[in-house]
Symmetry: C2
Subunit: 293 residues, 2 copies
């Protein structure tokens, strides 16, 4: 439960926390005066899907915790089929570590969990970054069956992480080159890696996305009660969760700054890690009640 | 035509440039290694409508030029009834000063002129910031007759700059307080002020906005040929030019970052001058081909 000196996701050892009969895998590294930053991962992603070009600069000013939710990587338990279920595990994990308040970086599915955490236990979040994600009731969220995504996912040439270059990045030379560099960075860690997620993980998480698309009552109204300073980050050419979902998020959250990158898809934060970390650091370093940074 | 040492819009002397039989009023101040920044003003705004909390920090790293287009403030000539006409004056002014390339900050109507400059003479712009503005073919651009704006414009209690607090800022306590501070900053300059614009200016500029709402052919297609690194800035609660116009701008420009502020209206850059200047400075200081900063 202590921090390590290896302030990189390439080298930080995987740790394990037992809570309520489950074992959660995580990595905790970094140092500095900033509040601890919990990073919540995307669909099927494990600890090894966090880009060190994003996590490591952030860890130079604060402790960073990467977390495998239940049933992901080396965490035990079943993958929940609802976002609320995954949120319960994230809260149990933080409780187990004795963390009462932290900052949160939620990417894609992780950004949904962050929203649900902010609703279910507002006090546990100080500031949050929602990258490439969507509000409840959003549209076209992770429809892997649509042709623009299925053509990549069903292409046998896209093995392992290779498919991420296609579906997280825009179909331009510049974005694809950034995607290739991203994949190379994910491969820098050579030991103590998580097993990749299988179809059971994908199935459960997709069910949770389908449930997240449904809403009752006034659309997006729940966001108006989330007052945490929030930075919403997106790429204009996100095929997995289209950018209008970030517009809705940031328009309806009362205290959110919206930052959208050109020539970028779902993985905009991994395409522009230097820029993203600069903005994220400025945002997280602020003590203002306003999200403006 | 030389720069001054008074690097503030509160104290910089107004200068005059004769070109083609017209006299353009302007102020030029600041110093530093950055490329010169031309600031293009909003509807009916004069040199005295530039917030020193925005211009002065920018002028600490570069020369800043504020410019009265034809028929505005102490510039002679007729106010054009088209954006193309105003753009011709801006180009003639830069030619008269011998400026071949500069950065541009265009706010509202000024952001339209910046787009037209980028089309008419791409080489004259290096990087541009488009704040609170809209693409050709945008929607609900400066319809002062709509009730949400008319109620403020027709209220006899809103005299002089006072109305700007109502129409440039959101109807919240925090935004209105920021608006009041903005107005106070505009009043810090006590001498050598421009005369305020009259109804003839408003009429001509509104005609230009009506023309700008019209488009032929594929909507927003012209933006795809504007490759300049661009920063698009808006407030989520802009009643004068709704935020969706900035979405369209930034989505269709191939190389634009979008930054949108919460709790802010048309004058988001004046509501958060410290944040805006930090981002603008970082953006303008970049030599990258990408707008990401």
């Amino acid at each position: 439960m202590s921090s390590t000196n290896a302030a990189s996701n390439t080298t930080a050892p995987t740790q394990f926390l037992e809570v309520n009969g489950l074992r959660y895998a995580y990595r905790r590294f970094g140092n500095g005066s900033g509040p601890l930053l919990l990073c919540l991962q995307h669909f099927t992603g494990t600890l090894d899907n966090w880009d060190p070009a994003v996590t490591d600069p952030l860890a130079s000013g604060r402790e960073v915790i990467l977390f495998d939710n239940a049933g992901i990587g080396r965490s035990t338990g079943d993958v929940p089929t609802t976002m609320a279920g995954m949120t319960g595990h994230a809260l149990a994990f933080l409780d187990g570590l004795g963390i009462a308040t932290c900052d949160v970086l939620g990417f894609s599915l992780g950004g949904v969990i962050a929203q649900q955490m902010a609703q279910d236990r507002p006090s546990i979040i100080r500031r949050m970054i929602l990258a490439g994600t969507a509000p409840r009731g959003g549209e076209d969220i992770m429809h892997l069956e649509k042709p623009s995504l299925a053509k990549h996912l069903n292409d046998p040439q896209n093995r392992g992480y290779g498919v991420l270059q296609k579906i997280f990045f825009a179909p331009t030379t510049t974005s694809q080159a950034a995607g290739e560099a991203f994949i190379a960075r994910l491969m820098q860690r050579t030991e103590d890696r998580d097993p990749p997620s299988g179809p059971n993980v994908a199935g459960a998480q997709l069910a949770a996305f389908r449930e997240w698309e449904r809403f009752t009552g006034e659309r997006f109204a729940y966001l108006k009660s989330i007052h945490h300073p929030t930075l919403v980050v997106q790429g204009f050419h996100d095929e997995m969760i289209p950018v209008r979902n970030s517009y809705w998020l940031a328009e309806n959250l009362p205290n959110a700054v919206l930052l959208v990158y050109p020539d970028a898809g779902h993985g905009s934060l991994f395409q522009y890690p230097e820029s993203f970390c600069k903005h994220a650091t400025a945002f997280l370093s602020s003590d203002s009640e306003s999200a403006a940074f």
